[in-house]
């Protein structure tokens, strides 16, 4: 059975993670930064599923299940925090959230 090798999946996962990392660093919109965090989580899950598949175990898949749950909880709380911040400061640009500066 000819399949794409594990390395292909790992490289794709690394590319996805790097894109998400780049997005966190260069974007200033809090919501987009949050989406990039999700992108990095998904990249990690892709690597886990690929490892799990090629090693013929199920542990990686089960771990991805937990990651999905934690990500859902994280999004709920994080978006609530963003809404609370927006109420306080009327902006979601990270540059404007400088209350602790100096």
């Amino acid at each position: 059975m000819i399949t794409a090798s594990l390395n292909a999946y790992l490289i794709l996962s690394a590319v996805l993670f790097a894109i998400g990392f780049l997005g966190v660093l260069i974007r200033r919109n809090t919501l987009v930064i949050y989406m990039c965090l999700e992108l990095m989580l998904v990249a990690a899950t892709l690597a886990l599923v690929a490892f799990s598949h090629y090693n013929r175990t199920i542990d990686g898949d089960v771990f991805v299940f937990f990651i999905l749950t934690v990500a859902a909880a994280e999004v709920a709380v994080g978006l609530a925090i963003i809404v609370a911040l927006f109420r306080q400061r009327q902006t979601i640009e990270v540059d404007q959230h400088d209350a602790l500066k100096n």
Binding site: M1, T3, A4, N7, Y9, I11, L12, A14, V15, L16, A18, I19, G20, F21, L22, G23, L25, I26, R27, N29, L31, V32, Y34, M35, C36, E38, L39, V42, T45, L46, V49, S52, H53, R56, T57, D59, D61, V62, V64, F65, F66, L68, T69, V70, A71, A72, A73, E74, V75, A76, V77, L79, A80, I81, I82, V83, A84, F86, T91, E93
Partner: protein, 167 residues
């Protein structure tokens, strides 16, 4: 055929991920994220993780993206993003991302040159096997995750109250 499918989903995922970080409009970024997740779900199917592909679409595409769109509409901040200055921060971000990518890909390439990964034989992660693992080996993590979800729900409710309690 198999390789073609992988290439298709990989390209879809990569391009959509680039769209997330490059699009000006936040709604477009959310839609690109949705596309990216669809591509990843396709890759999961190719890796015989059908349940995870379904869960990814259900939880991420169904719940998380919908939540993002709701928040975007609620805050109504579209088009306010000024064109970002090509400053020190952007350059630093580009360099850091490139270095990370080069490091990881270099590491993987070195693994390959050492003759690492063997061929595959799919282990269909069947639902029965999955449930068996969840309720035996991973019983405690499942409980902890359930508790975490409860705490997250309480936290979200507490955060979104209009008048914060005078702590």
């Amino acid at each position: 055929m198999n390789h073609l499918l992988f290439s298709f989903f990989a390209c879809l995922t990569g391009i959509a991920a680039l769209g997330v970080i490059l699009s000006r409009n936040t709604v477009n970024a959310a839609m690109c994220l949705l596309l990216c997740l669809g591509g990843v779900a396709g890759l999961f199917v190719r890796l015989d993780a059908f349940l995870l592909a379904f869960l990814l679409l259900l939880v991420y595409a169904g719940a998380v993206i919908a939540l993002f769109l709701f928040i975007i509409m609620l805050l109504d901040v579209r088009g306010q993003q000024r064109p970002s200055p090509r400053g020190l921060k952007q350059t630093a971000g580009l360099i850091a991302g490139a270095v990370l990518l080069a490091a990881v890909v270099g590491f993987i390439a070195r693994l390959e040159s050492q003759g690492g990964t063997a061929g595959s034989a799919p282990v269909g992660a069947s639902l029965k096997l999955y449930a068996d693992q969840l309720f035996t080996v991973y019983l405690l993590p499942v409980q902890v995750i359930g508790f975490l979800l409860l705490i997250a729900m309480l936290g979200a409710i507490a955060l979104s109250r209009r008048t914060p309690p005078a702590a």
